[in-house]
Subunit: 295 residues, 2 copies
């Protein structure tokens, strides 16, 4: 009997999505950072995301940090599409013996993050779990994006530069909880140097860049020595740790972009790390072969 572990997450999702009905209102369905629904004025973004104790946070973690993370992950997805947060629904599943203070702390982290970046809570669901079951926090949200600001993963073209914000690797030391979703940066980009493709880095550059390139039907050549490393962490960490929650995007306007960026975001590096190529095979062959040659 085949289990979901045998299929793997990608295999499972592929199987579940293969026969889904669609609608002319759905501009972007499963597979991008958010779903995009056509609307007369602003496009609608829809997103759902869950964090589980023992998987996404330690069972003894400060619940305020868990609340912040649960919201910021969704904000990061809205940023990745060029959008802005709107309304949030919070589902929490907890064993009955959970201290009430854990839940109020969770909400404190949630509302702090929403206060800083925008968005309001309009509903939710609480459900009890049997003793010993891990806590689960699921966030679903609606956002908006102006039609001419929408950026998906699928618009990258050969020859364009590949860029990342911030530095990569080492999120486990704390950034995976306390990160800043790149909403202001993404908004500035979409208004001034609209990327051709964009996503947020949640599973690590080594997994996420190929996903972007697959959606754009292009390949990539990385410059490993250009990848911005979090101080104290290796290139392997930058590629594989995940949970960086930085923006990964592509653009042909390299010089102007790199020149303008520091005036607006002086404390956040923007780095060109490679180039899109015309051969989708590069993403596995040419692309990753380069890591054998890194300095």
């Amino acid at each position: 009997m085949k289990t979901i572990a045998d299929l793997g997450e990608d295999g499972l999702i592929t199987r579940l999505c293969q026969d889904l009905a669609t609608s002319p209102h759905v501009l972007v369905g499963p597979g991008d950072d958010c779903a995009v629904i056509d609307s007369p004025d602003l496009l609608t973004l829809l997103k759902t995301d869950a964090v589980v104790s023992g998987v996404h946070f330690r069972p003894d973690e400060d619940a305020r940090r868990v609340g912040w993370k649960s919201i910021a992950r969704v904000l990061s997805d809205f940023a990745a599409m060029g959008g802005q947060p709107g309304e949030f629904m919070i589902t929490i599943a907890l064993e009955k013996s959970t201290p009430a203070s854990w839940v109020t702390d969770l909400y404190s982290g949630i509302t702090k993050c929403l206060h800083q970046y925008g968005g309001v809570i309009v509903g939710g669901e609480t459900t009890s779990l049997p003793t010993g079951a891990p806590a689960l926090v699921s966030i679903s949200a609606r956002g908006t994006v102006a039609r001419d600001h929408l950026v998906t993963r699928s618009g990258g073209k050969p020859g364009e530069g590949i860029f990342v914000t911030g530095s990569l690797g080492g999120s486990i030391t704390g950034k995976h909880l306390d990160f800043s979703p790149r909403l202001p940066e993404a908004r500035w980009l979409c208004e001034n140097f609209k990327p051709t493709a964009m996503m947020d880095l949640s599973d690590g550059l080594a997994k996420d860049l190929p996903r972007l390139c697959k959606m754009s039907q292009v390949g990539f050549q990385l410059q490993p020595d250009q990848i911005p490393l979090t101080p104290g962490f290796s290139l392997e960490a930058a590629l594989n740790d995940g949970e960086d929650y930085e923006l990964l995007f592509t653009s042909s306007r390299e010089n102007l972009l790199l020149q303008a960026w520091p005036d607006f975001f002086p404390s956040l590096p923007l780095t060109k790390i490679g180039t899109l190529t015309s051969d989708p095979g590069d993403q596995l062959d040419g692309g990753w072969d380069h890591f054998g040659e890194r300095p």
Copy 2:
């Protein structure tokens, strides 16, 4: 140390909602069947809901019925606001040893229900749980409702009749899984005899009617001998079993409504079960005292 069991679900929700930020776009926030967001044309409905193994379905239940139930519960909430389903996001949290066929069966029930009532899947989330943790299926969805069809829980007026569709009680024998969300019936009502207040019966008439009356700031007088009982079940069951997923609504157009209904829904009873009163105290005193006198 106070736990969430000490607070109870209503106490917990009250505490979590007390300091929430709001927005002028949010017409209805937490506390009704769905949140309602202002939009230039159709209003937007937002809803999230979760079912957990061992709480909402037996661990050995046919996953197709679990899938149907998980979607139909949300459709029932859209119906209760006079709305129509739009886009759905499916979050599933399962232990890794779950058979892949369980998940495909779950989706089979989900898509069967969406195919029958409308709505498309646009995204989701899968996350693994430690061995032994109960399966959780969380559905979040966006719906729409025409501005002049929106019905909340808060518009009931003294003197109006209280109506229910179908029969109440005994859902545990199967209806709690295989019920028909009352979307066509609610749509017809909103187009022809727009209720002043409406909700779906999920926690039992004894809990849900007082909630509707509290939101409408009215009381109620029930006629217990008029409550439509599922054959083989008692008045207590009709009041307390819950998971009826029938419509509970209020209207002043009693005669015309009861006359027109059977032509459109010949196989589904519509019953007047009582009257709204002007004294909110009735909902505990006058209202429930009647049950001491039932035949």
